[in-house]
Amino acid sequence: MLQCVEHTSLFKFIMVEAARILEADMCNLFLVDENSGKLNCFTLDKGKVKEIRTPLTRGLAGYVAKTGESINLEDAYQSPLFDPQIDEDMEYKTRTVLCFPVKQKNNKVIGVLRVVNKKGKALFTSHDEWLCKSFAIFVSNAISMINGKKAVSPDTMITENMRLFNLAVEDLPEGVIIITNDTDSVVVNPAVKWMLGWKINKDIDKENTTLLLNGLGLGDVSKWLEDEVGMLTSQEITIQIPGSKVIKVDFAEINGGMNNKRNRGCIVVFYDITKEKEVDHVKSEFITIASHELLSPITSMNNAVNLILQGMLGPNTEPQKKFLRIISDGTKYLSYLTTSLLDIALLEAGKIPVKKEKVDLEAVIKSTIESLWFKAEENKISLINKNGNTPSVLADSNRVRQALLNLLDNAFKFTPHGGEIIVETNTTENEVEICVKDNGVGILLEEQEKIFERFYQIENTATKKHYGIGLGLSICKDIVEAQRGRIWVESKERGGSNFVFTLPLYK
């Protein structure tokens, strides 16, 4: 079968395109050979199609070929169906896998399409599943056309492909628009029209599609298609027709290969997230009201106890002072918890607007550190500011201060008396790294990714004590990412920690 030229080029096309469009490391095609009862596995080796035979019962592809069910695995090694020997034979490490059966019209499985390892350590999404399924339909159809000895010119194959593709896109609940600069035709599926309440009776052409897209705030699509502007951005938009809908607009670039500006284009996908937003809204409303009801009494308690502590109502005995301090610490902690929860609720509801303006980073760092000198002295920790000549960044100065305060607060918790905390900055090509270094107990490697999750509590490895409710660092991450920065930690157990976050340079 492989001797057929059309097959070889078809397989190559499928494997290259599927891997590219699904952003995967590799795509293999398996075909059932009924005579031998084996699976023929096609792979690409240095651009050439190679064929390997494997038993029909073996591995994930074997399972899919036998049962006709699809598979989406986050970690192949966790599945009993996966055969690690295949990895060893191919000297490869499989992680995420997407497997779809290639079925004939009568539902008979004639092969399997396997896509391996989504790039960037990501997982395959339901959108990828849909793409993979579309490819599988395409494979089945193309093979039956070739086998049926129909006159197959590349053109009819493309036409046939488009027909199938259109069928798939028609039924999709998500809205899809595909627009490129080398053709005047566009793909707009019915979901787009009802989602956006787009009433248009005549044929949809490129012009009105571009106008529609421009109106959505992605950026100037027509200029982008001509490569005159650099980037379009994904958006969440609210549409008022007929009831208010919240639509998420995701934008994906199409590039016709390396340096091929001619085929520049984009796929715009519209998701209706109205329901999710409503749930979010109710949730954040609840937290806002609850926090508000808490903040007033907490403030009164805190103020009242401090008035007594300061001796404003007459002198206190030492034991009285001791217990008043317990109340004072308690109310301070309650106040911290309440504001943290409120911050998170607001961040999640997108209600904390993050400004993007020129920020004098050096001044912000200096004033933040100065505000903590008293605390440093109290804890006998040397707080050192090692930054100088730091360029300005594009950020929100209040949020930068909040992120830095959170990190410093965290460092204080894990640095023993006599320890030191250093704040320094490094400037790279596009961003500034702000580092908060301590010589405290450090963080175990397996904890380093988890500590930025909500409600993850770090245990002090020296004292086995938990701190806080695990919100500080997750708020920090939200704030940094809202300013287009990144945050991470470098740490060794007992070797101190270095928390780093980045902010884009102001240019």
């Binding site: 903040l295 007033s296 403030t299 009164s300 103020n303 008035l307 404003m312 309440t338 504001t339 607001l346």
Partner: protein, 134 residues
């Protein structure tokens, strides 16, 4: 104009009101208390306070409404208003300032900071009067 150095505290939460009143009085200020916007309006009319400390969420008339009424009335608009609120979103602050408030402080606040804000506003007022006299 009445010459007493009176502060008007408009706050429906009695616990908040009492602690704040006590702290201000300890600093030598004369504080009268109103528990809603409507009562406060009458008191402004009768007593002409020097400065108003205002909560936002109150029955009968909320703080924003009260603030607008004061700041858009030629007789009273010179009285500084400090809003103290548990509405902590940026939009709330902007609304407060748009209603004419001179300061917007969010809960939980530090008593000392609130008191120094009050005293600064009073000092500014004295300077303005002196400048006007010159």
């Amino acid at each position: 104009m009445n010459e007493n150095k009176q502060l008007l505290l408009v706050e429906d939460d009695l616990y908040s009101a009492e602690t704040l009143k006590f702290a201000l009085e300890a600093k030598g200020h004369d504080v009268t208390l109103a528990t809603n916007g409507r009562d406060a309006l009458n008191m402004v009319n009768d007593d002409m306070p020097q400065l108003i400390i205002l909560d936002v969420m109150m029955p009968k008339m909320d703080g924003y409404h009260f603030c607008r009424l004061i700041k858009f009335d030629a007789r009273y608009k010179h009285i500084p208003i400090i809003i103290v609120s548990s509405k902590i979103q940026d939009a709330d602050r902007e609304l407060g300032l748009a209603c004419g408030a001179n300061e917007y402080i969010t809960k939980p606040y530090d008593l000392n900071i609130l008191i120094s804000t009050v005293e600064e506003s009073l000092n500014n007022l004295v300077e303005e009067v002196n400048n006007a006299n010159i």
